[in-house]
Symmetry: D2
Subunit: 332 residues, 4 copies
Amino acid sequence: MIIHIKKGVSEKIINEIAVKYHSTVLNETDKTVLITPYAINKIDDRYHKFVSETFVFDNDIQLASSAYIKDKREISVGKIKIGGNVNNTVVIAGPCSVESWEQIKMTAELLKSCGLTSLRAGCFKPRTSPYTFQGLGLEGLKMLDAIRNEYNLTIVTEVRDSTHADMVIEYADVIQIGAKAMYDHGILHKCASIKKPVLLKRGFGATIQEFVQAAEFILSGGNPNVILCERGIRTFETKTRFTLDLCGVAYLKKYTNLPIILDPSHAMGYAYGVPDLTRACLAMGVDGLLIETHPEPQKAKSDASQQLNHEEFKKLFQSLLPIANSIGKTII
Amino acid sequence: MIIHIKKGVSEKIINEIAVKYHSTVLNETDKTVLITPYAINKIDDRYHKFVSETFVFDNDIQLASSAYIKDKREISVGKIKIGGNVNNTVVIAGPCSVESWEQIKMTAELLKSCGLTSLRAGCFKPRTSPYTFQGLGLEGLKMLDAIRNEYNLTIVTEVRDSTHADMVIEYADVIQIGAKAMYDHGILHKCASIKKPVLLKRGFGATIQEFVQAAEFILSGGNPNVILCERGIRTFETKTRFTLDLCGVAYLKKYTNLPIILDPSHAMGYAYGVPDLTRACLAMGVDGLLIETHPEPQKAKSDASQQLNHEEFKKLFQSLLPIANSIGKTII
Amino acid sequence: MIIHIKKGVSEKIINEIAVKYHSTVLNETDKTVLITPYAINKIDDRYHKFVSETFVFDNDIQLASSAYIKDKREISVGKIKIGGNVNNTVVIAGPCSVESWEQIKMTAELLKSCGLTSLRAGCFKPRTSPYTFQGLGLEGLKMLDAIRNEYNLTIVTEVRDSTHADMVIEYADVIQIGAKAMYDHGILHKCASIKKPVLLKRGFGATIQEFVQAAEFILSGGNPNVILCERGIRTFETKTRFTLDLCGVAYLKKYTNLPIILDPSHAMGYAYGVPDLTRACLAMGVDGLLIETHPEPQKAKSDASQQLNHEEFKKLFQSLLPIANSIGKTII
Amino acid sequence: MIIHIKKGVSEKIINEIAVKYHSTVLNETDKTVLITPYAINKIDDRYHKFVSETFVFDNDIQLASSAYIKDKREISVGKIKIGGNVNNTVVIAGPCSVESWEQIKMTAELLKSCGLTSLRAGCFKPRTSPYTFQGLGLEGLKMLDAIRNEYNLTIVTEVRDSTHADMVIEYADVIQIGAKAMYDHGILHKCASIKKPVLLKRGFGATIQEFVQAAEFILSGGNPNVILCERGIRTFETKTRFTLDLCGVAYLKKYTNLPIILDPSHAMGYAYGVPDLTRACLAMGVDGLLIETHPEPQKAKSDASQQLNHEEFKKLFQSLLPIANSIGKTII
């Protein structure tokens, strides 16, 4: 349950109410918001006068709920806005991992040639095996920093675990929390204490309920800029890497107020299916797309099979424009 | 492994080869096709001269494989063709169940008003509970027959189990095998012995491999007209009824030669998500869409929550046309 | 909701009530049982005097619910009783498929040497591929018949689809409905019209709710002798064939009144894991175990990898006796 | 691939080989072990003489593979040994969370009364919701420390994320990595740098392959003391919290060299099913059991529904002894 406390109520009273109802306290410019872990049947008479409004929810999705804030939140991805009343679909593209200066420069050129502004690339890779490439770490972040300056790009990069979260937060424009880190309280708490936008990926074993509750950790900690990213869930089907859950996306569009970005590359796991899936994702009417592309996918140090080469990416990109047009979206 | 036997080889020889290699025999107009359960390293010298061509596959998908027949099969859905070089996306719509003469007539009028020609409605419902509406049975089939004649429509209707398969085969233009019946050998064998097109739905617990292998039962029995229908698989996510597997569809498009129709209504289970999902399905570039619509969904005797009302359907239909146009498809 | 109608109420009145409440009617020796698809708030005053008892359930599990009949049903498997107050765990063993007279005779000898009485073997195999062995059909049933007579064994064998259901019902002592046929209404209805015990396997994509509802089809049609069989569900894990759902078994033990038999062989898919799993299943305190064993598993025409050879079976069988003893069960 | 380098080879040479084959280097007392990310067809002639033995694996499970070390590793849980040739099944019990001094003291008394020595209780809870109890943190660890000293108990407690990993490592005797943290590289690397035993729980969305690969991070970093813990995976079945994967356990027993502990409490999610499941787990022949028990489960601040009360625990414990005896295990 969410309780809005009127402006001007003393901190002492707010604390009293918060303690009484086991609430999380969120200070906003124009009001104080208390969030309780359960619905309160009747607020104590003593406190009634301090309360301006209350919101009850049928499950533990609260700040992210469209029953709380009806309109989709507007969030900035660099100079671009998504969500809100803006009909933008941002295309964020780049390789799985930063591998070399040349590779990342070629990616920047590709984006520029398409008129795109958002580059994705990982420096801390949450690999399944300890024996394979684990990412360039800080060295990679510094390369991304240089590229940002040179090409005026927005950098989206991933934090793998809490040990380097501060570093990623410093270098990234948009902090990506990877699927395997969705439950990482250390990361969630750090991302809650900043204002930079956070691209939160759904854990591949996480329900939508849990996914949005992970977003609640960030929102209730004070960062309102959370973007949800569906990237495929794990099912019994193994011909493809994961199963992109567009039914779940329909649910998120209706029941939450957070912008949604889709990642068909990780869902599919194979480049051949990415173009069709990307077009389907776009036609769902979402706020963004995350596409993996690499100058030479077959030489990639991670996710080699699912990255488009630059020619394939350009061809896909061209095919998106008329679809966007037909549904009233602007690719950006 | 598939072995093509030259035209003119005697039945006796063909039988000898078939027995030797445990083959299924499929007589086509221009050749005899033997399908073996495993790859044969080297065909016996005695038989070599009778063989015109051989095809080896890396799994037990054979006749349906794009490695056997490269181009998508062209199949008729009534007067409309799908697959092949025809860029049609057929929209098949109607209620979950035939409930009354008036309901089915209103549906026919709706289709006509949109310029559509294919009506779906079930008479034998594979319900989960024995205590709810089980369908009108033969009475329903007769109503569909009358509607077909009056409105010149193509009738797509479902067979639930082998006991009434002959009846459905007689009345339907396209025989739908429902998700729960995908493994029903009785139905598969009966559908193999006819030439009417069969819309085979993927079992919600079936892998793509098993799905296509079910199609192989029909194809190898002599009916080449099989259309695959993805309608959502069962996953851990329960906010939606099923999870539409578009990654799987990308696989089917690449690795099989069968046309594909998608059913977003059953996948989603809730009407609110059907329009977005349908647009996504269309943008995948598939051969058809199966949409549930009912004059008064809230009064429907089955699947009440997921059927669009006729206004919603028309609005959705209008939104499909520009998307189809943008990807080079014709809605029909 | 279940309504018990007092003895002696006229058929006319019963029909009136049944029609009013959309009920399924089940005539039992001492009462008439009406089962409605939903709970009725208040039974009409006119009918109140005819009603002896009512039972409301929180989901559509009714006749099978332990809230309706508290004690587990006692069901005969040949001369053996399971369920009720009998602490028996019946071990039903045999090959996946009847393949030859010699093979099935060796199996009978094995059972006899262990003091067991129940033989399982399939004649109609629901294979995934059309190109592999599909079972001996009626010929196999006749072999089982002869073995029954010669060795005084109880025959458990599977019906694959409705086309041969009558045949299997005639020859089997216990009719097994396979996992892929769990939803087959044709089979369920036929099994509802007899009194022979039915071993209903859970579909590998079916929830427990659906599984028990399939049993309701048989129970509400008039056959009270349904045994549930858990045999593994399909999950994302592929190192094993399926995932045996013992958590689900704990639920079934608590919330239903039907005896439960477990099939570790199909769940595991590999012989190496069957002994440990079988011991675990036994320690769950269930009513029976279904174990695949073959004189020469490597030569089996189906399920070769998961069948124990006869030596392995005997060794496993010996290890079960002390565990059964430690939990108060009798292996039979 | 694992390469054993002979004793006495210079560090320079070892480094050369390691670099050449992209190897992880593990210094053991009697040899140096290089682990490569892929199999090498032929080791370079120059290096051949330095190599004592090589091991090739068919997947990326290496140090944990029973193809590398045939016998199960022996690992200490406090004063108790598990694995190896010791037929112990350690029972680790206690509440989900440390909540109060009295609660944890009562738990210690319970363990003592059963002759058990290992207490589990969490201080950093990976809750799904930000609005509920998150654990006592350091205060809880200090309470566990005091209890250890007073009762001479082994403390098993959980690390939630990297931010407090050092703290948990300091206080715990056995570091538990929770299911949601299985992929946390920060934690895995910290646990690799110590020698305390690590109880690694399988992520509920993780395959067995990924689970054992997470163990490889710890093993290859230098800590040989990893215990695997299966605690239920997420499936489509929602009547129970998770699905305990005993088929997977059979695989782990055969193909890895790591001791295995099972957690039926989290798998089931409901106390009623825990006793039957625990007996099944024991009969699988595993090295340990993790059971949640709380003096007053209905008042528990987390996992209230699944914890046994102390009477139920004692009754369950008594029932385990004869089963353990019947399979040659000692409960400890």
